[in-house]
């Protein structure tokens, strides 16, 4: 009898983020009648895609026991580099070259990967703590973003027909009523889920996070695995740099400031353990929706920005407390089962 009870509690705890999401949606649809409209939901989805894609990369990093604080700044830097390339081109000597939009997208994604690679190399080869390394690259990338334009905004990111670089705005447009960013989020989510669950690489990521020493003894190249997760995170951040710039129709050097925190929050809400070893993509997606619904829902209800911050902070702490409770309960149940079998 008692066992059935605790099993029910376990199931509820495991699905808690999803339950919270449903409750939030119900709550906000009563609190603000316009919340459950197509327009609002499209807006929420658009915002969720921004945190969500960052959180996908963050999930891999956190599963290996790391953290990537640089993603917000990478969003800003990539936006500025892309905006600059469209508006001013690349001047080498006396000549100025303009690139097509697909070329710019590929180039920016490469830059995101490169920053991730640098993070990963410093963390694994120079043995610097991930928190410190990515804190450093966070400042560096933000500085570079400002340097690119001396702090000014690139407003003409629409491109010029004559130069053949029109089209970036498509990433901020809607297709069949759904923002482009949401499509990117959906596609990247599927790729991420397949990578984590259906490939040897995914197992290796979980193994390194669960027990690095054992992973090495199993012949897994733990350093390479870790570096790869930072590259994935940089890649995701570069997408947000492009999408955000397209949505705003302008590249601003302060873009993405503090977004790494939303990404971490979504990841943790989604059940990824900060100590590494466990986490799911679907959890992260739900976590991103919770963050997005709280943010937009509170704004629609007229909750002040200051209160929003306080509530967001409380939700994150509560999530981790519940997570810990679940772990303790699980351990208790395992012990109980053992004693019964004895």
């Amino acid at each position: 009898m008692k066992k059935d009870n605790s099993q029910l509690i376990m199931t509820l705890l495991k699905g808690r983020t999803f339950i919270v999401l449903i409750l939030l949606i119900i709550f906000f649809s009563f609190a603000s009648p316009s919340f459950l409209s197509l327009n609002t939901l499209t807006m929420v989805a658009k915002h969720v895609a921004l945190y969500g894609i960052l959180a996908l990369g963050m999930t891999f990093v956190i599963i290996t026991g790391g953290i990537d604080l640089s993603v917000g700044s990478v969003v800003g830097l990539v936006g500025m580099l892309a905006g600059g390339l469209i508006q001013e081109g690349l001047t080498i000597g006396a000549k100025t070259y303009y690139f097509t939009v697909p070329a710019i997208v590929v180039l920016m994604l490469c830059i995101g990967c490169l920053i991730g690679l640098v993070n990963g190399l410093i963390i694994t080869k120079l043995n610097v703590a991930a928190f410190i390394t990515t804190l450093g690259t966070m400042y560096i990338c933000r500085g570079l973003a400002n340097l690119r334009s001396n702090g000014a905004t690139f407003a003409a990111i629409g491109g010029y027909e004559g130069l053949g670089n029109v089209g970036l705005k498509a990433l901020g447009a809607d297709f069949m009523g759904i923002p482009a960013g949401v499509y990117v989020f959906a596609i990247l989510s599927i790729i991420a889920a397949v990578l984590l669950n259906r490939t040897p690489t995914g197992w290796h990521i979980l193994a390194v996070g669960g027990n690095e020493k054992s992973a090495k003894l199993s012949g897994i190249k733990a350093d390479q695995v870790k570096i790869m997760t930072y590259v994935i995170s940089g890649f995701c951040a570069a997408w947000i740099g492009l999408i955000n710039t397209a949505q705003l129709s302008a590249a601003h050097p302060a873009s993405g400031d503090g977004w790494e925190m939303n990404a971490i929050a979504a990841t943790v809400l989604g059940g990824t353990s900060m100590s590494g070893g466990s986490g799911t993509i679907i959890g992260t997606i739900v976590g991103a929706f919770v963050i997005g619904v709280i943010n937009d829902g509170m704004t629609m209800c007229g909750v002040s920005e200051f209160w929003q911050k306080i509530i967001r902070g409380a939700v994150i702490i509560l999530a981790v407390v519940i997570d810990q409770t679940q772990r303790n309960l699980q351990a208790k149940m395992a012990l109980q089962a053992r004693n019964e079998s004895k």
Binding site: T199, G202, L206, A207, N211, K213, S218, G219, G277, S278
Partner: protein, 514 residues
């Protein structure tokens, strides 16, 4: 060039040098084909180190290895695995956060067009586990398994590929029950029939006599002897393991211990192990005033755990403790220090010292409150007390405000002892006080132990060095597998008695008689 069809792998004069110690010294070793090759030696003899070389986990500092008449060099575990060498580690190297089948196939994944083929994994896992007579559902989380089951998963991992030629088993039975050991031996015999060679490291001498074919003995990183099991006896093994050299001066006691009062008595001390079994299993012991009590045992016998219980680091223990004739409730570490217990921990660097503090602060750390008036430090009093201790223990210190790491290992250890003594303890617990220090410093540490015991301090010393514990202890308890297997004093303290008792708890598995 080395070529012998009966030898699957030959090690030629292997050296392994770690900073400060030589773990292996010119060791040559033949791994016989389709035999159980047993490696024996005391803790730190170099058995595991030699196996790490063969499995590619570490690389020799000097020396060569040959397989099939060719020289081989294993730069990592993958290189050794490619040659068909698998290892079951002494400490479980599993992933508690993953399922049984994920653990079994980790880094040997079966894929279909680049994607994991979980059906193959699950079917394969079921097949292997059936062979091991442990039909654990393959999607169980490994963290939820009992330790014995985890050990089976560890073994299963090595049976995944069919190219296995050598299987190294480093104390595989240390966490198995008697029934599980039986299954393991059956598997081992099957493997031998398939032509697979086994290296078997174990402390359980009876098991070795049962399953082993050929035994090699190491001591202090050197080769001592090897022989076929059928030609030898247990006595021969013990004699070669322990050796006959180095004797320590035995101290004469002036205290009449027969009439001394019991200061500490521990009754039915038990400590559960996470994952099943017991770290301590109904241990009874007592300590008299002014006595030097030894606790001897193999690694993992439960020696340090006794201290951890007494110091309040293991609140999950059960049993009674009488202190000064009165029942004592064990509280926090600070409570135990105040009650008159002090500990010199086993791991000097991690538990004994704070590297960022200077010599003086390290010594006074546990007794700072004695030098404070209204919570403000009286540095003059502190320094005076530290100076007195430095003189008392003959610590060689140029300036007590130098970094602690500027001292030699022996003097660092004396600072840790000084820290313990400065709390003015009634009972001093010393865990491997002579580990990692040179022979001169060892003798000095023993003199300190003797001197303070003569002054009436009661001391418990843990040691895994036979000669040392025989030299300093008035009385010795032997722990084996969490049980107290012998209490020896006077003429009963012999190498043979100690070694036999240290294996005595192992034979029957770990079923706890409640």
């Amino acid at each position: 060039m080395f070529d012998d069809p009966n030898v699957v792998l030959h090690c030629e004069k292997i050296d392994k040098i770690y900073p400060g110690t030589k773990a292996l010294d010119q060791v040559s070793f033949d791994l016989l084909k389709a035999k159980v090759n047993v490696l024996i030696g005391e803790n730190g003899a170099g058995k595991s180190t030699l196996m790490k070389m063969i499995a590619g986990i570490e690389q020799p500092s000097a020396g060569k290895m040959y397989m099939d008449g060719q020289e081989v060099y294993f730069k990592d575990t993958n290189a050794a695995r490619a040659r068909g060498i698998g290892i079951i580690h002494q400490e479980l190297s599993l992933f508690p956060n993953l399922t049984v089948y994920q653990n079994i196939f980790m880094n040997h994944e079966k894929t279909n067009m680049g994607f994991l083929d979980d059906k193959q994994h699950v079917d394969g896992a079921i097949k292997i586990l059936k062979r091991l007579e442990h039909e654990i559902p393959p999607d169980t989380m490994v963290g939820d398994l009992r330790v014995g089951q985890q050990q089976m998963v560890e073994i299963a991992r090595n049976l995944v590929d069919n190219d296995l030629r050598v299987l190294i088993m480093d104390e595989p039975t240390s966490s198995l029950s008697a029934a599980e050991v039986k299954v393991l031996f059956k598997i081992m015999r099957e493997l031998l029939e398939q032509g697979i060679s086994i290296v078997y490291i174990s402390h359980r001498l009876e098991e070795i006599m049962e399953i082993g074919d050929h035994v090699t003995i190491l001591r202090d990183g050197k080769y001592v002897a090897d022989a076929d099991i059928k030609d030898i006896t247990l006595e021969w093994i013990v004699e070669n393991m322990v050796g006959k050299n180095t004797q320590y001066h035995r101290f004469t006691r002036s205290i009449d211990l027969d009439h001394a009062e019991k200061i500490l008595e521990v009754k039915n001390l038990s400590l559960p192990k996470t994952g099943g079994g017991w770290l301590l299993d109904n241990v009874n012991m007592y300590l008299k005033k002014g006595e030097v009590l030894g606790i001897y045992g193999l690694l993992g016998a439960g020696r340090s755990e006794v201290f951890e219980c007494l110091m309040g680091m293991r609140p999950e223990h059960s049993g009674e403790v009488d202190y000064n004739g009165k029942p004592m409730k064990i509280g926090s570490i600070a409570d135990q220090l105040n009650a008159g217990f002090a500990i010199v921990p086993e791991d000097r660097q991690r538990q004994g010292l704070v590297q960022s503090l200077d010599i003086c602060k390290n010594a006074s750390l546990a007794s700072l409150e004695d030098f404070a008036t209204l919570s403000l430090m009286n540095y003059a009093a502190e320094e005076k007390a530290v100076d007195a201790e430095i003189q008392e223990l003959h610590i060689k210190v140029a300036d007590k405000h130098l970094p602690i790491l500027s001292l030699s290992g022996g003097n660092q250890q004396k600072v840790v002892i000084a820290k313990g003594l400065m709390t003015k303890p009634t009972v001093l617990l010393m865990d491997e006080p002579s580990r990692g220090i040179d022979i001169g410093a060892k003798t000095e540490v023993f003199e300190i132990i003797h001197k303070f015991s003569e002054k009436g301090l009661s001391i418990i010393v843990i040691s895994s060095e036979l000669k040392e514990i025989m030299a300093i202890a008035d009385r010795i308890y032997v722990l084996s597998n969490g049980k107290c297997t012998a209490e020896l004093s006077g003429s009963e303290i012999t190498e043979d008695n100690l070694v036999r008792a240290s294996y005595a708890g192992l034979g029957t598995g770990k079923n706890h008689a409640a």
